[in-house]
């Protein structure tokens, strides 16, 4: 268990709901200012996209953000050295999100080592599913990086068991059968999925994909431990909003989540406490 999971568990066990915003690395010249602004707005961890030319699981917003960053000739190394430069000021754990080819290009071991050197403690690679891990999980663990696996509404119960057992950091519950991107409502599939995951693991469970508003986050956090917010924030960035302006949106989601956090525990949480004997202090 690396810093990512320790931090998220601690925040959750203290009764908090988890908020993980996303930024595409290199989207603007001063993109690391977004990290600092997110941190101020109450992020528990931050997901940093290492843009890929062919983002198969991303909707239009993240596609555009990736294209824009790549037009400026952003490389993984540049992004990681930018991160290393703000290391002292970014206290929250960082999770890199990218696609398989960037990882295999360097080799699993070398890629994970570079992440760790830059202070990144988590990794998400959506096109490397459970069956194709091929040692990526071991390479990540050896470097002290938590490899976060995804579950989807279509995931079978047997696979859910396996993924919950092998994911580190948190379990990423993909809310909907679809790509990243803003949606009018939180998909009905989201909470059902989160419920079956929380029943299987005591690791933090975050819902992502389409979480766009405070209301969505509140609805998601009724079952899950928190949310990942990406496209809604990146659309603002693409439209030219400053880090401070984007952080105002994030702060509103934080405020929403905090109303849930101070509430009493839900049925499913109680079930989980029993099942795993975990003390979830502030919720109990």
């Amino acid at each position: 268990m690396s810093r990512l999971e320790t931090t998220l568990r601690a925040a959750r066990d203290a009764g908090g709901k988890l908020l993980v915003p996303y930024v595409t690395g290199g989207i603007t010249a001063d993109w690391t200012d977004h990290l600092l602004a997110y941190q101020e707005a109450g992020a528990d961890a931050i997901e940093v996209g290492l843009p890929f030319s062919d983002p198969m699981l991303d909707g239009v917003t993240i596609q555009q953000a990736s294209d824009r960053a790549l037009e400026q000739r952003v490389t993984p190394d540049r992004i990681l050295s930018d991160l290393a430069a703000v290391r002292d000021r970014v206290r929250v754990p960082l999770v890199a999100m990218t696609y398989a080819n960037l990882v295999v290009r360097l080799g699993y071991t070398e890629f994970c080592r570079r992440l760790a050197d830059a202070g990144v403690s988590g990794l998400i690679v959506p096109d490397v599913p459970l069956d194709e891990l091929g040692g990526l999980d071991d390479a990540a663990a050896a470097a002290g990086v938590d490899l976060v696996l995804l579950v989807a509404p279509s995931t079978t119960p047997e696979r859910l068991d396996d993924i919950c057992a092998r994911s580190r950091g948190f379990i990423y519950a993909v809310s909907v059968m679809g790509t990243t991107g803003e949606r009018a409502d939180l998909a009905a599939t989201a909470t059902a999925l989160a419920a079956s995951v929380t029943a299987r693991t005591d690791r933090p469970v975050l819902i992502g994909f389409g979480v766009s508003t405070a209301a969505h986050a509140v609805a998601a956090a009724a079952t899950a431990d928190g949310v990942v917010v990406a496209s809604a924030l990146m659309r603002r960035v693409l439209d030219g909003a400053t880090p401070e302006e984007v952080a105002v949106d994030l702060a509103a989601i934080r405020a929403g989540l905090d109303t849930v956090a101070t509430g009493t525990s839900t049925g499913s949480t109680a079930g989980r406490v029993e099942q795993h004997g975990y003390a979830r202090a502030a919720r109990a």
Binding site: D54, P126, D127, P129, G178
Partner: protein, 403 residues
């Protein structure tokens, strides 16, 4: 399997190489199923359905009948009399250009469309580059009464306007893809995204021997009818029964894989011809794109590179994983030709034989023209060349180049 092949009257071709892939769709170190978790059950369902259908004589019978009475199979094996004399070799052309819709793409599409219907799907989606696979998919959808949406890079919709219109005439919806390089690779991404969102009623009809397992294997099996027929035809056309060389163009590699499959167990030399501007085997490095691991054109950081070829159908940065494997083990050889050689080849074949082939197919022709009489292709050699498609779609490009 043995009895089945006999039952449907196909020549029995056993091969130690081009067989079923190993676990998780591996051809050596290539292949696999690198897709988001959401698509895993969909890929598993396609695999299960294909295994079952391919072992079911009724399915094989249905497909055979469609290939015969609808697609016009078997396609002829035409001796290229005049070119053979000019080049000092014996050149036989496997005429996929004469198949319905004008290319080999129909073989694969009829197989997958029947499979989709068997799986209870009502809608086909596809990616397309030149538009040939899109046209074939739109055709099968019309025939089987299914809805059809084709994703095509915005740049390709401009380059291949005629095929866009053909697809629309056939009742398909054509969606121009504006992300990334706005070409075939981006159309593949978009088709995958749209499949995730509608897996319940939608079947993704992949156009070549690429994509996540089971597609590279399944598409090769649906295309092996080219090689199986060619094997029967050479048995009577050639005194040796088997040609010295088997040559086909390679984009994703489906017409080549289908052709090679018929000769993999012989001592025929297998030659895949890529476009010099899209030569994954020559210039690519191992990588992962569109759900599979293979050789891929990419930069030092792993960003996928754009291919550049005069033929939209070969403008693809990857290559089917089985080809990467056949290349590694030395069973097949992959070579390249330039746009200029291709343009010359189209003209020369047209004037010598009265056959106006597709720019893609002309890559194979260009290699034969370049090497005939050399050590690479010695005088007197016998050659089977798959002419994957006809040139009608390329007339606008050829007119532009002629000016």
């Amino acid at each position: 399997m043995r009895e089945l092949l006999v039952a449907v009257g196909r020549p029995e071709v056993s091969s130690s190489v081009m067989r079923e892939p190993a676990d998780l769709g591996r051809f050596g170190e290539y292949g696999g199923r690198f897709v988001p978790e959401s698509l895993i059950p969909a890929c598993e369902a396609v695999e299960a359905a294909f295994r079952e259908a391919w072992a079911d004589p009724r399915f094989r019978g249905q497909l055979d009948r469609l290939l015969t009475v609808y697609a016009g199979r078997p396609t002829p094996m035409t001796p290229a009399w005049n070119l053979s004399a000019e080049l000092g070799i014996t050149l036989l052309l496997k005429r996929e250009d004469l198949a319905h819709t004008g290319s080999h793409k129909i073989n694969n599409v009829l197989g997958q469309a029947l499979l989709a219907r068997r799986m209870g799907k009502t809608r086909l989606i596809a990616e397309t580059g030149a538009g040939q696979h899109g046209v074939a998919t739109a055709t099968a959808a019309a025939l089987l009464g299914m809805d059809c949406t084709v994703y095509m890079g915005a740049e390709d919709t401009e380059r291949q306007e005629l095929n866009v219109f053909r697809m629309k005439m056939l009742g398909a919806e054509v969606v121009a893809v504006h992300s990334g390089s706005r070409t075939l690779k981006d159309a593949c991404n978009e088709a995958m995204r749209q499949w995730v969102a509608r897996v319940d009623d939608t079947y993704y009809c992949v156009g070549s021997v690429m994509g996540p397992h089971p597609y590279p294997w399944m598409v090769r099996e649906f295309q092996r009818v080219i090689g199986d027929e060619a094997r029967t035809q050479t048995a009577t056309e050639l005194t040796a029964g088997v040609p010295d060389y088997v040559v086909a163009c390679v984009g994703g590699g489906s017409n080549a894989a289908g052709t090679f499959a018929g000769f993999a167990d012989t001592d025929a030399r297998l030659i895949g011809v890529e476009a010099a501007g899209g030569a994954a085997m020559t210039d690519g490095a191992p990588g992962i794109v569109h759900g599979y691991r293979s050789k891929v054109l990419q930069d030092a950081n792993g960003q996928i590179a754009e291919a550049h070829s005069i033929s939209a159908g070969l403008d693809y940065p990857g290559i089917g994983p089985e080809h990467a494997h056949l290349g590694d083990i030395g069973r097949a050889r992959y070579v390249t030709v330039t746009d200029d050689e291709v343009l010359d080849a189209v003209r020369r074949l047209a004037r010598a034989e009265g056959i106006l082939c597709a720019l893609e197919s002309a890559h194979a022709v260009a290699w034969v023209m370049r090497t005939a009489g050399s050590d690479e292709l010695p005088p007197g050699a016998t050659v089977v060349l798959t002419l994957s498609g006809r040139g009608d779609k390329d007339m606008a490009t050829l007119m532009e180049r002629a000016q």
